[in-house]
Symmetry: C2
Subunit: 239 residues, 2 copies
DNA sequence: CCAAAAGTGTTCAGGTTACACCCATGA
DNA sequence: TCATGGGTGTAACCTGAACACTTTTGG
């Protein structure tokens, strides 16, 4: 029997040319929050099989880049952002997942602040699409999206990551609405406030909302002193 | 810019031959529990670079099998087991992870009952190795092992999966010892019993331990009525 | 009778849930 | 003044942690 560890890759290549007919890609579930709604960055598929259906942003992994670097590159190329929160989620490799051939794809989710960068609306109708309205996606991208959403749901109560989706200053209402959008449940307002103040994730910046048709709420910032931002290890070289 | 979704794979292959110099493999962290110790199934590396170091069981993914089927095949080939608990954990794809070339690998962990199948001790010193004594592994396999262990730790308090590591009937002492081995912490005996009885994961089979040099404990089974086993979707065709 | 592990309850602290009223603002 | 959401506290409940003595068996 042949195993990866028993021969060199060069031997393997020459003995098993077929193995190298598998392509590897990354797909990014790029999430944003806009108008109190969770959105995902999508384009139209231009494969004939998936005409008019939405797809995630993805690309083949390059021979000279780390797997975990590829999604940073995709984000940089498509949105201009290069300092984003990114998590690997799962790798999808069913034989029939891509109609045109064998592509194994590793899925990542990314949390970005929509307002910080206006999209130059590219070809293929690149746009922010409501996460709730994604039943008709191409390939297995709906399954990828759902897997990422589940993992995100598991993470946000323990880890202060949703702040990547918000502007620098935000109200508790916005924060709660964001949690409700991700978890898809309603939360109690008083308990939500209590819990977040106790966790010490927030700093009161002593400002109020503006231009709201009701009593303005206080604004807060993420407590970045207590949770120093981890510097990205995946800077993408300029092209 | 080229993306996976904008061209067919055939086009991509002809335009980007280099992309297909990436190989994809699976690596299995096959865990067992023996003599109150957590063990992982390892072999000796026979790459010169990693002489005398231990490696996980792995293999290249075949062009005609689903990614998630490959680890079932590896297990079947190496241990004879084909009805095992398996979870995909993470995909490792750093450029320099394999000294002989570009191999991206998807890691799985598997929980098996060592006593249910005696290993035909193969070549390469295939054997059950204590998880605690794995500091000197080949490639990035220590990192892969650690990542699997962390994910397993997160899972076992919420999901009744450790029973895959135990014989059909077991004592509470064994179960607690298993949890302590995985979590690497000591647990309170009374609280452990209380918690597990409340969760209703166990069925009292009204038998006692035999051949112990002290008061024998009751034996239990996993409550498989309450948690029906999910049938494996990954049966491997006979070779 | 000794060694070893089995079996068993209670108390306390902390966290989660449920729940209702007054307040500040803009229209 | 009205509509809208902001801001606040308490009681009940549940969970997890700490903790010690008696019982059963084999040697």
């Amino acid at each position: 029997m042949t195993t990866a560890s028993q021969k060199t890759v060069k031997q393997l290549i020459s003995e098993n040319r077929d193995f190298f007919k598998i392509a590897i890609s990354v797909d990014c579930v790029i999430l944003g929050f806009e108008n109190n709604e969770l959105k995902v960055l999508l384009i139209r598929s231009d494969l004939e099989e998936y005409k008019d259906r939405w797809t995630l942003l993805g690309d083949l992994v390059r021979p000279n880049e780390d797997l975990d670097t590829a999604p940073y590159r995709v984000l940089k190329e498509r949105t201009g952002l290069d300092d984003v929160y990114l998590e690997q989620v799962h790798t999808f490799g069913d034989l029939d997942r891509h109609p045109a051939g064998r592509v194994i794809t590793t899925a990542y989710y990314s949390l970005v602040n929509i307002k910080d960068h206006q999209l130059k609306l590219e070809h293929n109708q690149l746009h922010w699409h409501p996460v709730r309205e994604t039943s008709n996606m191409a390939f297995d991208h709906k399954k990828i999206l759902d897997t990422c959403m589940k993992q995100l749901q598991d993470k946000i109560m323990e880890h202060p990551i949703v702040f990547n989706l918000l502007p620098e200053k935000f109200s508790l209402r916005e924060l709660q609405c964001l949690y409700e959008s991700i978890l898809e449940i309603k939360l109690d307002r008083r308990n939500f406030r209590k819990k977040f103040f106790l966790m010490d994730w927030l700093v009161d910046v002593d400002e109020l909302e503006k231009d709201v048709p009701h009593r303005p709420g206080k604004l807060y910032q993420f407590n970045s002193q207590r949770f120093p931002k981890v510097e990205s290890k995946h800077a993408v070289a300029a092209e």
